[in-house]
């Protein structure tokens, strides 16, 4: 028993280390982000509609960026939720084991493609395609980004939804069949309601994935900082703004602090999503 102690401490410190990292990141985000609010009020910062950080005098309104992030995330969910939940149900309830054996590794492959490759594919092939289909001036639009982000969020949604469907005890299915329900009725009326908390968690984590994605949106969302009015126009999400502008903004300048403040707000949004996901998981809403 005594021998185990040092190892135990080692493992404890490993676990603590990640908490320390998270804490340090949060503290530095807020420490570097808060100075902007001495110059611009938080309300003006969040609800201002003009983002001209390098202009003289600069304007720091991030409403267009927040709305762009939300629009693209909603679009990604519209793509990913039906596809993801559908695939999860197919794989757990309907697919022949052999077909499942093929689909699963392919999905894992989808998850392992680096986001810059999605971005490159989107910019060179997918955006010109969208441009031709809708006959719009440019293919770098919120729609283009949404579809690609939806594909990128698929593996997350499918694997979590699949886990939760698989974990439903077979006695529940059997009871449904015993009552004379067909396979379809069992899936719709028994399986999905029973797995709903897992499915909701899957959707929210997919949402986190989509709103935090950076490289792909930087390359294909178009980058126009205007309040979005439709899916077919270029937009500028929060992540892309930070990634594009951080490198060249003078350290310690207002612009620099503004970018950190955007990061802090993004951090709060994803933190909120994750807390919500945890809450749903535990309460089994």
């Amino acid at each position: 028993m005594k021998k185990r102690k040092p190892i135990e401490y080692l493992l404890l410190s490993c676990a603590l280390l990640s908490i320390i990292f998270l804490f340090a990141i949060a503290v530095s985000l807020f420490k570097e982000g808060l100075p902007i609010f001495k110059v611009v009020s938080p309300v003006k910062f969040i609800f201002g509609s003009h983002w001209y950080p390098a202009h003289d005098p600069p304007e720091f309104g991030i409403l267009p960026l927040i709305l762009a992030s939300l629009l693209i995330t909603i679009g990604a969910l519209i793509v990913a939720v039906p596809l993801g939940i559908g695939s999860a149900i197919y794989m757990t309830e309907l697919a022949h084991p052999k077909i499942k054996e093929i689909i699963k590794p392919v999905l894992e492959l989808l998850a392992s493609i680096p986001s810059v490759i999605y971005g490159f594919f989107g910019m060179v092939i997918f955006a010109p395609f969208i441009q031709r289909i809708f006959n719009i001036p440019t293919g770098l639009t919120a729609l283009t980004a949404s579809i690609l982000l939806g594909i990128m969020a698929l593996p997350t949604i499918i694997s979590i939804a699949e886990d939760s469907i698989t974990s439903i005890p077979s006695s529940i299915r059997e009871a449904s069949y015993a009552l004379g329900a067909t396979k379809w009725e069992t899936i719709i009326q028994t399986i999905i309601p029973a797995a709903r908390s897992g499915i909701l968690t899957a959707i929210i984590l997919g949402m986190s994935r989509a709103i935090g994605e950076t490289m792909t949106v930087l390359m294909i969302a178009g980058g126009a900082a205007v309040i979005p009015k439709s899916f077919l126009q270029p937009v500028r999400p929060m992540t892309a703004t930070i990634a594009a502008e951080m490198g060249e903004s003078p350290m310690g300048s207002l612009h620099f602090h503004a970018l950190f403040a955007i990061a802090a707000i993004l951090f709060l949004i994803t933190l909120g999503f994750n807390i919500l996901a945890n809450h749903i998981k535990e309460k089994r809403i």
Binding site: H50, P53, A54, M123, G223, A224, S249, M251, H255
Partner: protein, 289 residues
């Protein structure tokens, strides 16, 4: 009894192996540092900053190290702002920048006892590009400004085929944008719905795919299906930029703390030498010597 004995023996072997492994790791780490400490004549130099200047510096560093085997040059990107703040914090010897240092940065540097000294190493021209099918061949500085600020929004207004103008710009913190803002926009804002893209390459690709687009890129990126426009009647080329006829050009800089010294001076002198300026030219930029 016997079993437990053999068990503890295996445990001891494992322990010994563990100790040996730790010794090896420490030895490896130490030996990693040793040679640099042992050979005192090795001179190291760190450069950080603009991604525009990066290709020149990388190629120059390779050639420089071939000539001077004792020099150890490490080159990092990050952007002009990152380079200058690294110089202020003392974590780099030379900061590369595609824009001139800003007043607030100089102030910051003086606050930390650093006095940045500027050396121009090359020039870069900014070409105004359109889709290759566009019938417009030339444009004036005033027209470019009117297009980017939103006064002109249809090609017809400057003598082209009617259709909306799609404005492609660079991110507000890029050195190229900074220069464009100064030389063309004279400080005015671009239209809010302009596409702000993250790299020269992205601008070229987008303009090449978009018949109604106008954009601007560094001279080294005039590739693919785009056409460069004459600005005020002058086509961008190495010659017109050196002569000063083509107005959309900027300098690329290296900043040091005080006048360049030691291996830093040697390296900057090398870039300004005929051999170094040839590298500048090979990388698609314009030599200044």
């Amino acid at each position: 009894m016997k079993k437990s004995a053999s068990h503890s023996k295996a445990g001891r072997v494992k322990k010994v192996l563990g100790v040996v492994a730790v010794i090896f790791v420490i030895a490896a780490l130490l030996s990693g540092c040793k040679p640099t400490e042992a050979k005192k004549n090795i001179e190291s130099l760190t450069l950080t900053g603009s991604t525009t200047v990066l290709p020149i510096v990388q190629k120059a560093a390779e050639t420089f190290m071939d000539i001077n085997p004792n020099a150890r040059i490490s080159v990092r990107g990050g952007g002009s702002g990152v380079g200058i703040s690294a110089l202020i914090d003392g974590t780099t010897d030379i900061a590369n920048a595609s824009r001139a240092i800003k007043a607030e940065e100089i102030e910051q540097a003086h606050g930390k006892g650093v006095s940045p000294v500027e050396t121009a190493i090359a020039m870069d021209g900014i070409a105004i590009i359109v889709h290759s099918s566009n019938s417009i061949k030339g444009i004036s500085l005033e027209q470019i400004k009117a297009i980017y600020t939103g006064e002109i929004s249809d090609w017809q207004e400057i003598g082209g085929k009617s259709g909306p103008i799609i404005i492609v710009s660079r991110d507000v913190s890029s050195g190229t944008f900074d220069t464009f803002k100064k030389l063309v926009l004279s400080g005015e804002k671009t239209r809010a719905d302009a596409l702000m893209l993250a790299s020269n390459n992205a601008v070229t690709t987008t303009v090449a795919n978009t018949p109604g687009a106008i954009g601007y890129v560094g001279l080294g990126y005039l590739i693919g299906d785009v056409a460069a426009l004459e600005v005020n009647g002058v086509y961008p080329s190495q010659k017109t930029i050196i002569d000063g006829e083509y107005k959309l050009a900027r300098y690329l800089y290296m900043y040091t703390n005080g006048d360049p010294q030691g291996v830093g001076k040697e390296f900057i002198d090398f870039i300004l030498s005929p051999q170094g300026q040839k590298i500048v030219e090979e990388q698609g930029f314009i030599p200044i010597r």
